[in-house]
Amino acid sequence: MTKSLDRTELGLIIALPILICIAFVLPKWIVNYVQVSMGTGLVALGVMIQMRAGLVSFGQGLYFCVGGYAAGMMAKFLGVSDLFVLLAIGILAAFVLSTILGFLLRRYREIFYAMLSLAVSMILFGLLSSTEELGSTDGFNLPTATYLGWAPEGETARLTLYTITCIVVIGCAIALNRFLKGPIGYINEAIRENELRVEYLGTSAHKAVHITYILAAVVSAIGGVLWALALGHVDPEMTNWTTSGQFVFVSILSGIGNIAAPLLGTFILEIVRVYAVEFSPNTWQMILGTVMLLIIIFLPKGLWSLLTRKKKTKQEKLAASAPAAGE
């Protein structure tokens, strides 16, 4: 158990310089997709850590949007463009909102959790779509980010933002990996399996769910800020439930086995989308739906399980050969 933890973190740390280097090697458009999918990938991570507790959030776009809009409004109304301030404000907004909403959502499980998370995300959607000061359904643009007073331009600005995005995303992934291996992460798995027993073991399932919800919100907001700065634009679609559905899709596709899987899954999806939309614009969702059905039926633990399957079968064989008692 403890060994695989180190491997994931080691992998992420090794991936960091490689990720940064590809910005100088690969064509610009691929790097852009990497950058954008790191933002949305963080939201998928937020969905995934909740799934560990058996909770499917169909409204994670809420915090993606809260992050993006909080940063955007800070820039629009107060003229702040410092990336670190914008990140902080995005995190703060998500933290406050999720702490409050968490008191409502932590009481719900299963489909109710899915529906309520969807409903609260649609409140924001309704609110932003009808707020003209914030551009209604069109949203508004963000300025180029500055860094503690340094204001790079052009290619330098692009590479700086990209590098910082890589560092922040990898940092978040490592932190979340630790969270999943920590006490609350463990309790979450127990909640998924049997909440009654969790309470009888002497801890509050509600509290664990609340903490997880807040953490997922904060990570999604970070993703929202980075995404918004990368595109230079925000709009209410960020919190539409169809956007949230895509984050759920990625988590299903990549499975909840490993923290790197949703990040990778988001990138693959982003690339496939480019070609699919080019090739046949009206069948993209159909492909998504079909792939999702196939995954649910044939690979319930996600694509990542293909990589770990070999190890598992060995374990199962061992288990099967162990003597069975009580018979």
Partner: protein, 298 residues
């Protein structure tokens, strides 16, 4: 005063539309324990086939009166065909699986149906206003309303009544209530549970399609209406208590009036008000107004 009347009539109109659009969702959940996101897809299919058929028909220049036959027929065709394909082709193999998993399955089906709609009817809008104005308008205290709006209210009442009587007064309905009560025991008693599921799903899908078909003349039918209605329907059935038909009616009235009130008093709050009402209801009754708390036996 005028505003109050406008809110009352519009509220009823919204409520009727919401009830028609969401009653199939609550029926399917009540019987099959499937929260069917694909319901939005059935709604869209109904709306498109109705608008398309009306368009084709009125292009021939014949009397508009017959479109009132076309609407239910289009809904029936769309609902039965798509409902049967989805249930027999996909859902049948997944009964007994986790409820959350079924949400994901129906979400996948929803995505597929969205593109099926686009492939059949393209991405442009369809407008089929003719039936909506066929009977003209009537004045309610000086405010003109289309008669069609009152027709939808009547249809909603009839559908509600038929479902109520069908469930409580007919043999099939009573058997269905038994299936809702305890699926396993009904199976053991010799009730063909699978067939009940198929029938329920097709009826639910057809009701969804009817919701879309009957609304089509009042709106511009374009991509995205399915995604929109599913959120509203969720709010309606959650407020009333999932699986309860009476609850759906009450939920539809609450949501309908909340929406009408904000449209007339403070338009920007239109979508917002619906969820505010929902949050208020759930804060008091966490599983909706008509839901019973379930306790696990240990």
């Amino acid at each position: 005063m005028l505003t109050a009347i406008a809110i009352a009539v519009d509220g009823l109109g919204f409520a009727a539309w919401l009830f028609l659009s969401s009653v199939g969702l609550t029926l399917i959940y009540g019987v099959m324990r499937i929260l069917n996101i694909a319901h939005g897809g059935f709604y869209a299919l109904g709306a498109y086939s109705s608008a398309w058929a009306i368009g084709l028909y009125t292009a021939t220049g014949s009397t508009t009166a017959l479109t009132f036959l076309i609407i239910p027929l289009a809904a029936l065709a769309a609902g039965v065909v798509s409902g049967l394909i989805v249930e027999r082709g996909i859902l049948k193999f997944m009964y007994g699986r986790d409820e959350v998993l079924m949400v994901l399955v129906t979400y996948a089906i929803f995505l597929i149906l969205e593109d099926v709609t686009k492939l059949i009817w393209g991405t442009e809008s369809y407008v089929a206003w003719q039936p909506a104005f066929y009977f003209g308008t009537i004045d309610v205290f000086g405010i003109p309303y289309t008669v069609y709006k009152f027709l939808i209210i009547a249809v909603a009442l009839i559908v509600g009544l038929v479902l109520f009587l069908g469930l409580n007064r007919t043999r099939v309905g009573k058997l269905l209530l038994v299936v809702i009560e305890d699926r396993e025991i009904s199976g053991a008693l010799g009730i063909n549970v699978t067939r009940f599921f198929t029938i329920t799903f097709v009826i639910g899908a057809t009701l969804g399609a009817l919701g879309g078909a009957i609304t089509a003349p009042e709106i511009s039918v374009s991509p995205g209406i399915g995604a929109e209605i599913i959120v509203l329907s969720f709010a309606v059935i959650v407020i009333g208590g999932m699986g309860s038909i009476g609850g759906a009616m009450l939920g539809a009235i609450i949501v309908g009036f909340a929406r009408a009130a904000s449209v007339h008093l403070y338009p920007p709050a239109e979508l917002f008000s619906i969820y505010l009402v929902m949050a208020a209801v759930l804060a008091v009754k966490p599983y909706g107004l008509f839901a019973l708390a379930e306790s696990r036996k240990i």
